[in-house]
């Protein structure tokens, strides 16, 4: 799998990231950094603990990271969740949370596949 194919697979835009980072090996480096990123775990922990403000914060962070990495599907899912949580009056919506989880898992799976083929 090439890095372009990885982006296609997760519903991201390689061109968008290339336009910003200019360099394929840097894109790869940053994409792989996502495997150690804690935003998703923080989000899930906060949601489990039903801490609304922490959940909002983590969703917001995940949205930013996904935007920077060009992971559009994940970015959209995190953005929707962020907006739902913004008033900080209700717990995270389960469906929105599931969408984020699915997008995250798809990214991780694709990254693992990309890494194993290298």
């Amino acid at each position: 799998m090439t890095i372009q194919e990885f982006y296609e697979k997760i519903g991201g835009s390689f061109e968008d990231v290339l336009g910003r980072l200019k360099n394929e090996s840097l894109i790869e480096k940053f994409a792989l950094m996502y495997m150690n990123d804690t935003s998703f775990k923080t989000l899930m922990d906060a949601a489990c603990a039903q801490n609304i403000s922490d959940t909002f914060r983590a969703a917001h962070s995940l949205k930013g990271v996904a935007a920077n990495l060009g992971f559009f599907v994940l970015n959209k899912a995190a953005a929707d969740l962020t907006e739902q949580l913004r008033p900080q009056t209700a717990q995270a919506d389960a469906n929105l949370l599931d969408t984020v989880k699915a997008a995250h898992q798809q990214v991780i799976a694709a990254l693992q596949e990309y890494q194993s083929e290298k």
Binding site: M33, R57, S61, G64, V65, N68, L69
Partner: protein, 552 residues
């Protein structure tokens, strides 16, 4: 040059790394994970951040609280903050702006936008530490960055403070106009920044004074002088820009401003403007080191405390070796610093207008001394008192001297006045008639330090000086430069034709004396006969010469 520092505050390592990647070629980056960590980095005060890039939503302390804390710490008002948030809701941005943020950009980061906005904001906020004309630091900015830099260094002794000024800058300015002068300043700034010194920081202090901090190992004077004197062209005119260089090696964690003063002081010790236009500060200068602020702040109390003493240097008749007169010289016996050299405190006093009070003090002292010695039947000779060019801007001062002359029973020739060439402009502007009035009353005037600067024949012709004093810098060159004795001879002849007597200052050797005698010089002053003497020794000197019949 050392890069400017930016603080990135974001909880995501990926985001921080991306920004770092976009900025680290041009800036020195520090990262913080949240507002609280960022605050403690700022408060540690060993960085000089020119910008903070701030995420809004973070654990522990978010961006809003960070901005509030920053506002509370008034010291950091000059530190701009750009918001870097995925949250671009109007409400958030409104809140961030109201807390002092200056700009924002959103995630994902676009490198062009990031670098432009960062650059714009840093430039916008740079007026307090940048020199607008040259783009380098101004004095404040330079001192700020250097202080922090040397605080962080374990061994500062490998660095030097190097001060520059442009030779004849005033002349360049009047020749080329302000635009030309500005062009020269910018060029000088570039020359310094690109010189072999490889400065860490450089600044324009004021006017044509520049400074940089560099590693002492980079100071190769020969190469520096090769680079010096580059030819610039402005409006089709060519001119050569020569820098004068003063160096102070760092020796401890002292204040940056102190090293700048030392390097500036070294500038004043440059002896040969062409062959060796540089000087390094050393301890002998340190012993004499008096800063201008100290001089003017302590002047009044020092005067009251009798720290200023009048010394007398006898002037001898060349042909006979008899005492002809004396020059009153001021000495400052500072309780802590010891004897302070007049060439260090007099310019400071001239600058702040105190010099007239000192000149007046000397005049009063001399007159009362002569009066009391005469009353006691002790021998006296005419004593000359120096007048500074500043005195001629002070109408009251000159009037005071005139009044005293009228009321004083001292003989009119007991006190004479020495005026330097540099006073000419001031006299011409202000008090031309006073000199003439004094001369009509029979007061004798001496032209002092002739040949040290822009020797003015016009001045000699306009005022009937009685005596001309050839500057010691000329006398000292008599043996090393073959043309100088001829010049001295010509000056003596010229003076005699104009009805003036001549004093040679700074005579130290038998050879100098014998040449001057042959050339017809009337009077000799210098260590060959005696150094300046305190009052009691001067009294004894006169008594001894009187006993030997050696008072003219």
């Amino acid at each position: 040059m050392v890069k400017k520092e930016i603080l990135i505050v974001d909880d995501s390592e990926i985001n921080r790394n991306m920004l770092r990647l976009m900025l680290e070629d041009d800036y020195d980056i520090t990262e913080a994970e949240n507002g609280s960590e960022a605050l403690s980095i700022i408060e540690k005060d060993d960085h000089i951040f020119r910008l903070v890039l701030l995420d809004l939503v973070m654990p522990v302390m978010d961006g809003f609280d960070f901005l509030k804390e920053l506002q509370n710490r008034k010291l950091y008002q000059q530190l701009p903050v750009i918001i870097i948030s995925a949250d671009t809701s109007t409400e958030s941005l409104d809140k961030a702006y109201s807390l002092g943020a200056v700009d924002f950009f959103t995630k994902p980061f676009n490198p062009n936008i990031v670098s432009h906005r960062v650059n714009n904001v840093i430039t916008l906020y740079s007026h307090s530490y940048k020199d607008i004309l040259t783009g380098c630091y101004n004095r404040n900015g330079f001192i700020q960055v250097v202080e922090k830099y040397i605080q962080r260094e374990d061994d500062v002794s490998k660095y030097s403070m190097v001060v520059f000024d442009i030779k004849n800058f005033k002349a360049i300015n009047s020749l080329m106009g302000t635009a030309g002068g500005d062009y020269v300043l910018k060029s000088a700034s570039n020359l310094i920044q690109n010189s072999i010194l490889k400065p860490l920081f450089s600044a324009r202090l004021e006017a044509d004074h520049f400074v940089c901090l560099a590693e002492t190992a980079n100071i190769d004077y020969n190469r520096l002088m090769e680079e010096n004197g580059s030819i610039l062209e402005f409006n089709g005119r060519q001119l050569q820009v020569r820098l004068r260089v003063g160096v102070a090696h760092l020796d401890g964690k002292g204040p940056a401003a102190g090293y700048i003063d030392r390097a500036k002081l070294a500038l004043s010790y440059i002896e040969d403007e062409y062959l060796k236009p540089y000087a390094v500060f050393d301890e002998t200068m340190a012993q004499h080191y008096v800063n201008a602020a100290m001089v003017t702040s302590e002047f009044e109390t020092s005067l009251e405390n009798d720290e200023f003493k009048v010394y007398y240097q006898p002037v001898m008749e060349a042909a006979t070796g008899k005492v002809a007169s004396a020059e009153a010289l001021i000495r400052w016996e500072h309780p802590e610093r010891g004897l302070v050299r007049p060439d260090l405190f007099i310019p400071a006093l001239e600058k702040d207008g105190y010099i007239s009070r000192l000149d007046l003090f000397v005049d009063i002292q001399v007159r009362s001394l002569l009066k009391s010695w005469k009353a006691q039947g002790l021998p006296t000779v005419p004593v000359s008192v120096n007048l500074s060019w500043m005195d001629f801007y002070d109408a009251e001062m000159i009037q005071f001297i005139l009044d005293r002359m009228e009321s004083d029973p001292c003989g009119i020739d007991d006190v004479r006045y020495e005026i330097t060439e540099s006073s000419y402009a001031a006299i011409k502007e202000n008090r031309s008639e006073v000199i003439k009035e004094m001369q009509q009353k029979g007061v004798k005037f001496l032209m002092d330090d002739f040949g040290s600067g822009y020797s003015s024949l016009e001045m000699l012709m306009n005022y009937a000086f009685n005596i001309l004093k050839i500057d010691m810098s000329i006398i000292r060159k008599m043996e090393s430069k073959p043309e100088v004795p001829h010049i001295v001879e010509l000056i003596i002849n010229m003076c005699h034709h104009m009805g003036m007597k001549v004093v040679a200052e700074g005579v130290e050797t038998e050879a100098q004396l014998s040449f001057l005698k042959k050339a017809g010089c009337d009077y000799i002053q210098g260590y060959y006969f005696t150094k300046p003497l305190p009052e009691e020794e001067f009294k004894a000197f006169l008594a001894r010469h009187k006993a030997e019949g050696k008072i003219a």
